[in-house]
Symmetry: C2
Subunit: 484 residues, 2 copies
């Protein structure tokens, strides 16, 4: 049991890290993380790493002998950190927030420390029950329709990402539409899905993976001003497909598109979907969290028409990736689409029908105890704290939008319903690209882009855990300077 | 910013957990986890929780006000722990090992603390490059064929589970077989996949999700003694399908089946697959880790004929779930099957072709920096430490097998190639069930079952991080007593 490492870690007794070594190194690492959070503003937000530079700093071959924790932590500082784009920087305004928080990180640490595998209720009842319970809590915080609760016909489950959530929603819809025949005999031509031109790329990816194909996904036109799905266009597309003998089976409506935060009209879209017997999946990955605030619950108007719903707690609810909260209104539709029970997974509890086996709600069989981090977040912040910070982000973005409107060099290209501001330089794409490049090269902030009606646009997503007014003020200065 | 929580956490200044609060609570939690590991043997291995008992102990409604960390940790002790089945107990012999270790838990903590999202190289170059590099290291440690390395035509990626790995392998195979037509136009009838009757249920789940259907998956007969796939039966099935105008496109061979640890003959299976132009996916989730030991590399004989390969570092390589190491021999086949690039993800680095964007290697778009935990594990243990512990597990299982053979009450139903012993009571299924129930009810160990040729069998999977000879000795006593 004794490794030849006395020279490396003098007191090391075994290859394993003993509980006492874990205490020591764990506390060193907790301090490292706390220090990191204290200095995260000092790093260039966007990594300046060149391709291959991180790998070039690592030994070509794996270590034969054990190494010390100190050596590993030194490499984190010297090799890893220069290659990190700092998503937790308060000046990270790119893509979407990937929120994190202390209680979430600690919930994840507890999950790793317990090391349970919650594929079945029986393999750790608490992993399943805390998840079900906390997702009911979240449903209440967001005021989701009663069908999405576990005491209704549905319930929630944590998926790794909205991409996976959309995939399982599409598969459940496919099986509902074909009476399970796609699972049995394979997909047959004619199944047709619908999403707006602004929907997330994961919808097309899901259509491909699930055998429906890109050609089986209709791109529905949007309102040119709001970039929200046009329900009349959806109706025309579904009518034409039904007329042609195709089977409209799945509609995705988005609450906050990734590009510009456009809000599809759920009620009107849902009514059309229902007329054709199609499954309505609501992708609120980006913006569903807004509904913790009663005054922002308009984002969910019509949600009672949905068959499934996803909101990413790991985007804008202070919870570390991965924590995509996926809800279905009819859990039987989901489970019957995804359940396969081999002998070695059979057990009394499952056969009683009294418990949930979350493996039947998702693609992977294995699962971590991810509910702990969401449980910790909801308790540490309380509804009050979550509302406070979501409101603050929206207020900061609205302030920035007002400021953009007052700048002669900038124009906003679409509305700012919540916390994403989409702007362009009035001098055109070249100027907008220079603006983007200059801000990002400064290291003081990180912004990404999209296109709106063919025009290059800068996106400013305000939702970082640590983002405060002073960071948005500093961004204004950067934008003003970079605009020339 | 000041919450009304002075009564709850007297020094709390904001809704957020400040870095200093994180320091304090983080260290409390590190101690809690270390204490847990020190006392994990004291708990009944299988939770005695009744359905609903965990939920019954939780408040029905989410908290309106913030709560203290002390309150949360108290509930972990009082509510969560009784509902935990202790996968990290040294007497957990059920299902498969879900290995964990100190360096892995700390790598995961670092990943959560950094909170980066590595969907693209550009969104944190280190997240991608450490992953590529460490998976090359692992390929070297397991002596995988050169094509699976990133400096060959392929490379590795961390997936959440072998289920997801098998799904993306099947989709890549489907697209290779149809020239991308399934992604474009949807799956058409005729695609046929093959796996043995002992293959993991995730293979059929993947066939269903990907639109091939259960009917498109042939169950290939196994050798009655070893339960390994019979290559002649595979050949007959593929020939009949090809003859009938179907398209054999995907073969799964298993290195260590979940039920009994059967080893499909990769070389013979691969030669058959090649003759029909089918993609060979090797599911070594359970037992691929054995190959860290040169004397056990026979498990991979013929692996150079494979198109993809998966080994779960989170099963038997001391790394926390989720860390499924998935390799392809031709990365272009995988990426072309899974890549969709919307405008907001375009960036200079991706378009240069010089970098890997792992989002194109998997279902989810988002990804954690999971490579850190594997990096920490490989460095903390060194190749030497990994080999030491894998060898120890195999030796303990072999010793147990020998002991079982010497017991008049027991018989082994199949061979014990590595670390899984499959046994039954000689008095038949009723006696075997009582054996299982009695051991599990004792709380001293946890065993699960399978069926072998219709007979109920007890599985003893020896692979826990903390499992030592004394735990296997104690299990022998339990089995002997329970056998009556």
């Amino acid at each position: 049991m004794t490794p030849d490492t006395q020279d490396i870690e003098p007191d090391r007794q075994s290859f394993h890290m003993t509980p006492d070594e874990f205490r020591r190194h764990g506390k060193e690492l907790v301090d490292w993380v706390a220090d990191y959070l204290e200095r995260v503003e000092d790093f260039p937000v966007l990594s300046r790493s060149a391709p291959g530079s991180v790998r070039a700093a690592l030994p070509a071959r794996p270590p034969e002998q054990p190494e010390s924790f100190a050596a590993m932590l030194a490499d984190v500082d010297d090799v890893v950190l220069p290659g990190v784009t700092h998503w937790q920087s308060p000046s990270f305004f790119a893509y979407f927030p990937a929120n994190s928080s202390g209680p979430s990180v600690l919930g994840d640490l507890l999950s790793a420390g317990l090391g349970v595998q919650g594929m079945l209720w029986a393999t750790s009842p608490a992993a399943t029950e805390v998840e079900t319970h906390v997702l009911d809590w979240l449903a209440e915080l967001l005021d989701l329709p009663p069908a999405f609760r576990s005491d209704g016909t549905g319930g929630g489950v944590i998926q790794d990402s909205a991409s996976s959530s959309s995939l399982v929603a599409l598969v459940a819809a496919r099986e509902r539409a074909t009476g399970g025949e796609s699972n049995r005999a394979g997909v047959r031509p004619g199944l047709t899905a619908y999403a707006s031109s602004q929907a997330h790329s994961s919808v097309e990816k899901a259509a491909r993976i699930a055998g429906v194909g890109s050609a089986g996904l209709r791109t529905v036109d949007v309102d040119p001003d709001t970039l929200a799905m046009d329900p009349a266009a959806l109706e025309r597309a579904m009518a034409a497909d039904a007329e042609a003998g195709r089977r409209p089976f799945f509609v995705v409506a988005t609450v906050g598109t990734t590009g510009t935060n456009a809000m599809d009209p759920l009620r009107a879209v849902g009514e059309v979907a229902r007329r054709y017997g199609a499954w309505l999946h609501v992708d609120a990955a980006m913006s569903g969290s807004a509904a913790v605030c009663p005054e922002l619950r308009w984002v969910h108007d019509g949600l009672e028409l949905a068959d499934s719903y996803v909101v990413d707690a790991h985007k804008w609810l202070f919870t570390n990736f991965d924590c995509s909260a996926f809800y279905v209104a009819d859990r039987e539709a989901l489970v019957s689409a995804l359940s396969i029970v081999p002998e070695y997974l059979r057990n009394t509890a499952s056969e009683s029908g009294d418990v949930i086996d979350y493996r039947d709600w998702m693609v992977p069989l294995g699962r971590r105890f991810r509910a702990l981090k969401l449980w910790f977040v909801l308790r540490w912040y309380g509804a009050e704290g979550l509302r406070h910070h979501v409101r603050e982000h929206v207020a900061l973005a609205q302030d920035l939008a007002t400021w953009v409107d007052a700048q002669p060099s900038f124009e906003r290209l679409v509305a700012t319903p919540l916390n994403l501001v989409t702007l362009a330089h009035v001098d055109g794409d070249g100027a907008t690209q220079r603006l983007l490049d200059e801000v990002n090269a400064s290291g003081q902030a990180y912004l990404t882009h999209t296109r709106v009606h063919g025009r290059l646009a800068v996106r400013v997503s305000v939702g970082g855990t640590w983002t405060q007014a002073r960071h948005v003020e500093a961004l204004k200065d950067l934008l003003r300077e970079a605009a020339g």
